[in-house]
Symmetry: D2
Subunit: 287 residues, 4 copies
């Protein structure tokens, strides 16, 4: 695609101060950029400012290669964390799965319809079960069986594979292994997990059984970034579904599956459209 039909998206966070919106929008305006979308948020607790601005690169007076250098002085002055994304550079996303197909199926389907603007160069699994599904969509499928003994070694090989494929985002689509820090640390704020409960309730194993036994009237699913602490990463999206005494555990798992695929897809969608900023343990998700 010709990059001049592209959109640039700035994601930035910095300590709040006067003039931030004005100076950032002026940076774009003075280079003939037309702002398509702007969202900002001030977290009064931490005194931090967060912004997402998207502008049309068509007619922009400098090329996409030059933007970062041009913006750097401003960012430095603001002591900002920042990144500029170009819409024609689709995030390269690896999907990790085990045996459950519903989340993978949903992602591949929506990817196929063009709803998820990302590349999926490969799927990684510790089991062979979903190989056929991957094949239907012509996506390379790599199996790395995991045991306690070989886990570190297998992850090292996965990591190499991800690097070879220039992967920048990892989606755990009901991947039933806890990642070690070598993988987590390699993709800070770029590994998305789906947990099959309304976190923080029912973290850990068998959340549907826990929910069933506690007799809750609503079950949930939670998509979050993976950090070093299990189930503790910043939450991107959650949703719930109502259940009743009529629902058996099996039913509840079935309803939960529908929830998981919806919640994970929404989180992935927000992430690849560069709508998510991490604020400590929390996220800002611009709609």
């Amino acid at each position: 695609m010709d990059q001049h039909n592209s959109t640039a998206i700035l994601l930035l966070s910095c300590p709040d101060r006067i003039g931030l919106v004005s100076r950032i929008s002026h940076f774009i305006f003075e280079r003939q950029g037309n702002i398509l979308d702007l969202d900002e948020h001030v977290d009064t607790g931490s005194g931090m400012f967060f912004i997402r601005v998207a502008w049309d690169m068509d007619g922009f007076s400098i090329s996409s290669e030059e933007i970062e250098d041009a913006f750097r002085p401003l960012a430095r002055e603001f002591r900002a964390d920042w990144k500029i994304h170009l819409s024609h550079e689709k995030p390269r996303t690896a999907i990790f799965v085990s045996k459950y197909e519903h989340c993978l199926q949903e992602l591949l389907w929506r990817h196929g319809t063009g709803e998820l603007a990302m590349e999926i160069p490969l799927i990684v699994s510790n089991h062979k079960d979903l190989e056929t599904l991957a094949a239907q969509y012509n996506i390379p499928f790599h199996v790395f069986p995991i045991s306690p003994e070989n886990k570190l070694e297998q992850e090292r090989r996965e990591l190499s594979l991800l690097k070879e494929n220039r992967v920048d985002t990892v989606v755990l689509a009901r991947y039933m292994q806890v990642l070690t820090s070598q993988l987590v640390d390699a993709f800070p704020g770029r590994i998305i997990n789906i947990h099959h409960s309304f976190l923080p309730a029912f973290s850990g194993g068998n959340p549907y059984r826990q929910a069933f036994e506690r007799g809750v009237k609503i079950i949930g699913a939670t998509s979050h970034y993976v950090t070093g602490e299990l189930d503790e990463g910043p939450i991107i999206e959650q949703d719930i579904i109502r259940i009743s005494h009529k629902d058996t555990l099996k039913n509840l798992i079935r309803k939960g599956r529908d929830l998981e695929r919806i919640v994970l897809t929404r989180a992935v969608s927000s992430h690849i459209e560069h709508r998510v900023l991490v604020n400590g343990r929390k996220t800002i998700v611009f709609s």
Copy 2:
């Protein structure tokens, strides 16, 4: 009201066996009762059967005073827990409050419109703040200030007052004291609490602050029966509301208030209409 315009409601649970629906409905039919509503549920896990049947007492061949004696042999044969309620005998409900008015306001309002078919002979509080609100609705308001030293003694006085007023149901409408076992044990399965979180998440103190700090995208409220274990009683009703990074803690508390009043009202409504059966740690709520 003339009891012959009344409805009888049987709530029964017993070990499942063949013929329960047939024999219970036959008991009603052979006495010329017209069944208005029947719901049943079998918990295959525990092998227990639960039923709620409502029938018209108009034309019923025995009087409401005679029903229990007539039904007892059947119940004994089924080894059942059971109770027969008459719709013209409205549950006598005491409401316990502290300083928050929203739940009390909601209950009194709906009671006033006739939606909640119960008597409210009195309101109990450990603070004076809501006296005026109670007065607006002409309901006696009793203040029992609570300190660690006088708690047992004050509860004893409350208990006497409840007995004097023939109270059968207690609603804790954001009552900010943990009840001791003397009160809990006096009303088994008949004390309803509203917890301002999506239990089991954020049990204990300050759940909104916990939710805010965890960065959840959805907050909840839970109404449950009070048992000896804090926040562990059988859940009657839950609901949730979506929040975002824009919501301050104050906002979140405000949204939570709306949720609390709705969830508590629904739970109270189900209880006083005799739609709730307790099944161990869980409830069956017939709709």
Copy 3:
């Protein structure tokens, strides 16, 4: 499957009178049937009684072939509309499609996971587009191109094909043709359509565009039985999704697709589990 592991389901409606539940449940009890689930409803407006009873055929004293004859006298006395279904006889369902794949995809997927207990002997379409999808699931795909001139003739051929395949239920999964009365009348209360709006709002063509132009804040989808009057058949299921000024028409259509597949699937699921009774222009859907 051995029919003795089967469940029998009675769907019945008749004028309300005393003793219906008792006599129906007694019919089952005296033949050693264990009731698994019973739901009933009285429509006080029309004075009609509706019931769904499911019982275990294991241990039942008469065979599934004999049930209807045994029950007929009772049904006649009650002047009832009724039908007894056996769970091992799965409804034979034909799916009609045009070019949109999402509803078909959803049905096939859930059918594949075992959630929809039906047979799908064939798919009918007026276009070739979804042939590949049908092939992936190994389901015969029949194309009948429709023009105003050949419509009656093509429908006649479709009808023959449905009869040959002993189809009892037809699902219109975004089939973009209005059926004529010869097809509608051949499957009374057994053709299920998905309309892409919150009926009765935006009936007719282009409902998403209508919704977009009216500036509604919520869009819906409606699944209903097909009758002679367009979009006027009894509604089985509806659901909605929130939209905002940010949603373009394209976005709205995308969100609507998700809604359609969910709503249609729920309606089909209720129908094939024999949970739906038609009450004039309305339905009773037992949960």
Copy 4:
């Protein structure tokens, strides 16, 4: 309140062009204003730009009296519709009611808790029924009985009263009269109505009965600005609630009441916080 603790809010719409955000935010920045919140939207269909900016007047280099004059040249250049509101100048809102109390009750309650930052100088009604409720909150209550003969004359008197009280917003809280153009035209985009259905479905009279008879599975409520065409004004907020065959018409009306009070309150809240911009037949509601 000291206006220097106040917030200024600009609502503006104009044809889209390059540099709008930059120049508007620069106008604020160069006068030492700290932007607290900024939302913008481009309607690509109509080519119109919409913005809401809130900034702190504390430290702003010009007084609140001088802002409009200072901003006028920019607005003129942009050919904009615009208005600057100051948070310490609370909208003066008249509430019109008839006999239903639930919407009025909700508004007064939330106003009392400080959630609705508006003044309510008076309540207008065509019936006396809600006088006591108004008195409880110490708000003047004016009765103008309406008949076909006196309608124009009574409205004229109402209009005078509104002007005397410097009312800028009118809320029809289940006011059961259709306003004539003399009143509608006097408050363009400033009269908010609650319609007890999911518009455009069931416009006109008796929407709950219409919904009941159609057998819908979901009912709704719609809050909209009043224009010359009945039920056709721009929609501000809608919500829905699920119903079933169990719901009688009476039940449905009761559930609808809960919906109406929530939907109207949200719409009023958005309006008085200056979050709503009208875009032809539609609204933009910034969250």
